[in-house]
């Protein structure tokens, strides 16, 4: 269970660029919740994810993951519990290192790293099996440098790296936004399958309203650093994209401003 209690973050405080990114956000995720998070540009979605991941200290509030207070843990300490996939496919993997080297580094997430040879025979077999599960043919490319893979392959690999050692929380920050539509669909299917199989608790930021309703079990909408909508269950199942947009307008008092959201809504 993830509890965010009154978290606040103001960037560039006391300057002309002051920006309230997170305004007393409270959110509780039960185990197995797969939250899709939407909102216009600058609403604070990615900031919220980065706050949970520990990329910057909070101004106020606390973050509790499965009973452990993680508010003051550093990014790498939280990584033991949290798996992440980034928007940019280049961010989640080390380009000059091989597929198997990337995997073994992820396999050691939250484990003690030692002075012993990282990749041995049994690891190879295990990685090959894991990669075969992606269905992208990566199982035959264990010793390929990751920089030679396509964006979609790298993103699928990052997803595997984030989940092969089951995380207590999975954070997906628009992880298919920069992929071409066909690849995006493959990675999205993979995401849903992995989350379901492992019964993961996850937050996925997306700009696609349709996807926000079709994937996951719960939808949260943000606006100007606050949560303006939080729906699940029957209420969510009955909703379509237009309902979601009008609810958003009612709750936030503004129209959805992002072109990408509108485009995605029309599509």
């Amino acid at each position: 269970m993830l509890e965010l209690i009154d978290i606040c973050k103001v960037f560039d405080k006391n300057t002309v660029n002051e920006k309230v990114a997170l305004d007393n956000v409270s959110l509780t995720l039960n185990n197995g919740d797969f939250v899709t998070m939407v909102g216009s540009n600058g609403a604070g979605k990615s900031t919220l994810l980065n706050a949970v991941a520990g990329m910057f200290p909070l101004d106020n509030g606390s973050i509790i993951l499965n009973g452990n207070e993680i508010t003051h843990l550093s990014e790498h300490q939280r990584a033991a519990m949290i798996g992440r996939v980034f928007q940019d496919p280049l961010t989640g993997t080390a380009a000059h290192m091989t597929v198997e080297e990337n995997l073994v580094m992820a396999w050691k997430r939250g484990q003690r790293r030692r002075l012993r040879r990282a990749i041995r025979f049994q690891e190879r077999a295990f990685f090959r099996e894991q990669l075969a599960g992606l269905g992208l043919g990566l199982e035959d490319r264990l010793t390929t440098k990751v920089g030679l893979l396509s964006g979609g392959q790298r993103q699928a690999l990052t997803l595997l790296m984030a989940t092969m050692r089951r995380p207590q929380l999975l954070l997906l920050d628009e992880h298919i936004a920069s992929l071409d539509p066909r690849t995006a669909e493959i990675v999205m299917d993979l995401t849903c399958r992995i989350v379901e199989e492992q019964q993961l608790t996850a937050i996925m930021v997306t700009h696609n309203l349709e996807q926000a309703l079709s994937a996951g079990t719960r939808t949260v909408m943000m606006h100007e650093g606050r949560i303006v909508l939080d729906i699940q269950g029957l209420e969510r199942r009955r909703m379509d994209v237009l309902d979601l947009m009008s609810l958003f307008e009612k709750n936030s008092g503004t129209k959805l401003s992002s072109d990408r959201v509108l485009l995605a809504a029309k599509a």
């Binding site: 080390a94 580094m105 002075l115 040879r117």
Partner: protein
Amino acid sequence: MLYALAGTLEQGLLYALMALGVYLTFRVLNYADLTVDGSFTTGGAIAASIIFAGGSPWLATAAAVIGGLLAGLITGLLHTAFRITPLLSGILTMTALYSINLRILGRANVPLLRADTVISRFNSWLPLDNIYGASLLGLIIVLLAVSGLYIFLKTEIGLALQATGDNEQMIRAQGVNTNHMKLLGLALSNGLVAISGALVAQNQQFADAGMGIGMIVAGLASVIIGEALFGKRTLLQHIIAVVCGSIVYRAVLALVLRLGLAPTDFKLLTALIVVIALASPQVRTWLGLTKNSRKRGSFDA
């Protein structure tokens, strides 16, 4: 001629340890560490003063390594604890080391003529008087360093260190404290540089406060020459290329010396070599010689 060859080989091998250190920071850790100029001298100064005082040369060399490790650690702490930029933290340590090195030496120059050094000890184990003694010792130590570095970089910790240089965000998301990796990399790198300084001082039979000046550029030249001539497709190839690059670099210097260039012009020549190597991709694009527009190993100092 034979003497020149032996001289080039032993210099190439002894300085190769320094080049390996430069490779570890500049290439593996992607950290432009300028501590090298200082830590090389620190290695030489520590070894020379212990030997001069009558200490064991092996112990003196070991103490030099510890000095180098500490120098690297200080640069690392300046960067990780105080967020000083890599370039500046290296310069600060290098500058501070200049005074410290003079303190260690106690004077501008410590001579080791006819002193008991690791090289004279090693030579005494060899049959006959051998002009390749220093080269052989250098080769053994370089082989140990190359295999040690390769094996280390393939361990769990070694991979995390490589990833820190490759993609810091990625490896932090996998739970690695990248600050620790930088400290480790900088310490190991300057440890290697200091062994090199200690051995060079024993080989040239003196240590002075200026022996490390321009060392970073010499190290870079070795790395770049090695990469260009011997390739860097795999990790092992890359490491061995750096060693070979160091030997080629010393051979080039010996050659131009024979052609009549003054030894004092070496640094200018070295800087030119590095400039040419770094500028060539850009010049090639100006001339329209690049085959594709993909970004190639651009160099960030």
